[in-house]
Amino acid sequence: MRVGNELYESNKINDVNKMNEMNEILLERHIITAKCKKVDPWSIESYIELGGYEALKSALQMKPADIIREIKLSGLKGRGGAGFPTGVKMESVRNIDVNPKYLVCNADEGEPGNFKDRYLLENDPHQLLEGMIISAFATGVIKGFIYIRGEYDKAIAMMQCAVKQAKEKGFLGEMIQGKDFSFDVEVKSGAGAYICGEEFALIESIEGKAGRPRNKPPYPTMSGVYNKPTLLNNVETFSNVPYIISNGYAAFTEIGTKTSSGTRLVSLSGNVRNKGVYEVPFGISIKDIIFTLGGGIPDDRTIKMIQLGGASGPCIPASMLDLKLDYSDFSAEGLSMGSGAVIVIDDRFDVLEIVRLLIRFFKHESCGKCTPCREGIGQMLRLLYKFKTATATEGDLELLETLCNVMNQTSFCGLGQAAPTAVVSTLRYFREEYLKRIKINAVV
């Protein structure tokens, strides 16, 4: 039961391969998890033996502008949740004539239901580092940070080890591989604050302060760490870079759909048989993720709802299982993909109980800087309590909808803007759960 390497060894990725090879070909594509389980994450030699740091060597022979061109053509989008084109971000940092520039890897994975960054950090730390070094070379950055949440003790130790080994091998430090290029990486630890996944809160935390967001614009690409241009990406985003450089953008756009190229790491959890991290090509359906890869719901229960993306993501009903994992399919439904979590909740659970649990999470994690988020979440919990105890009125329903709207439109950062998502989506897809708890209806 201790969670360590030994348990991760038996991760479901391997089990599913053995179980169902046919489906594996159709549903899984291992690009950034290709070396996971084969590579010893504590050993740079092991990574190099499997072809590691070859992408960096190729990149160092390229012009920085050509590297950025490859990334842009690959269509790689930020995997942290916002889905911003990575190449465009790199270009903005490259083109600003302010020095020094910084690079930050956001490994503050605190979104409940997400564990794919942990999987990458603990299984292939050098791939991430290689992606960061290539990105630094392309954008003219001299110093990078990996900000890992304080709860991920093992990932912190592993990244520190990887950085030390990369320095010894001359992949980090001065004059990397004999080129006029110097880059150093520092591992920074969080200390328990979900808000630090927000880019500016994270930057404040790197500077040793409380993690409260800053006003945008300027964006981090213009003014980030110590008010200098900063390239900030998620673990999964950086981890995709070596593959694209080694194989070319065309190999990457071949995978997935027209509108979403490459693969996506899906963190599958909740009431499902084979919980785990799966690397899937864009375009596969939520049904395939839950039933073919995940093996379905235990004890022959049925699905009550599915939360996508994590605590700040939408809750959808089982009737939407055919939804495809694709940026444009999601936005056509008015949904955001977030960071790739799929949380299955079975029919034993009450929709409102789950929603209240989610909003309680945000109450704890709100940084308190802006009023809509700080006060709005408290008011939201108060209203949800009335629904839970079936003492709500029709006016409360209206108020709840207005509150969601106000928080979404006026909160200072993404936390407050996204906090009501579970309420908004359940009001849309599970409205009867609210209606049946309105007092008048209850009496009738």
Binding site: R2, F115, A193, F361
Partner: protein
């Protein structure tokens, strides 16, 4: 002294304040930062005490109240909740004979909730010190607690 060593290691730089406080708190038996600690660190780093409190009060891994040697953190976010996290809480409360948020009278264990610890594939999961335990059932709890009691007793000998 442990604290001076940590301050030296991080060169007393304000941007390393979070690391300094984390490492120092971990080294202490009662897992907290005292008023005296704050005063001392502020003096050593030439920063205000309020600057240090702004960190301690913001980040949930810090405490200004004494806690047990081992902090038992239970995740009750949705993936753990729907896999029976509350059964684990009940069992921990029974075994340790304390309520959530309390510390045992011998100051060995404190029981807390934590936000998601990224072990949703092993739900329900808990974290004790730097160790994570997953796929838990109520019957696993006594064994885990006994392991830490043994560890504690050995460290006292």
């Amino acid at each position: 002294m442990q604290l001076s060593y940590i301050l030296d290691k991080y060169k007393r730089q304000p941007e390393n304040l979070i690391h300094i406080l984390l490492e120092y708190q971990q080294s202490k038996d009662k897992s907290f930062i005292s008023e005296d600690d704050v005063r001392f660190i502020a003096g050593e780093m030439s920063i205000s005490e309020s600057r240090i409190y702004s960190i301690i009060s913001f980040y949930s891994l810090f405490s200004i109240k004494p806690r047990g040697k081992y902090i038992v953190q239970v995740c009750n976010d949705v993936p753990c909740h729907v896999n029976g996290a509350l059964d684990i809480v009940r069992e921990l409360e029974n075994r340790l004979m304390i309520k959530m948020g309390e510390t045992t009278s011998d100051e060995v264990f404190s029981l807390e909730y934590t936000s998601c610890i990224g072990c949703c594939d092993k739900a329900p999961a808990i974290r004790i010190g730097s160790e994570t335990y997953g796929n838990l059932t109520a019957s696993d709890i006594s064994e885990i607690i006994a392991e830490f009691r043994r560890k504690y007793n050995e460290s006292r000998e």
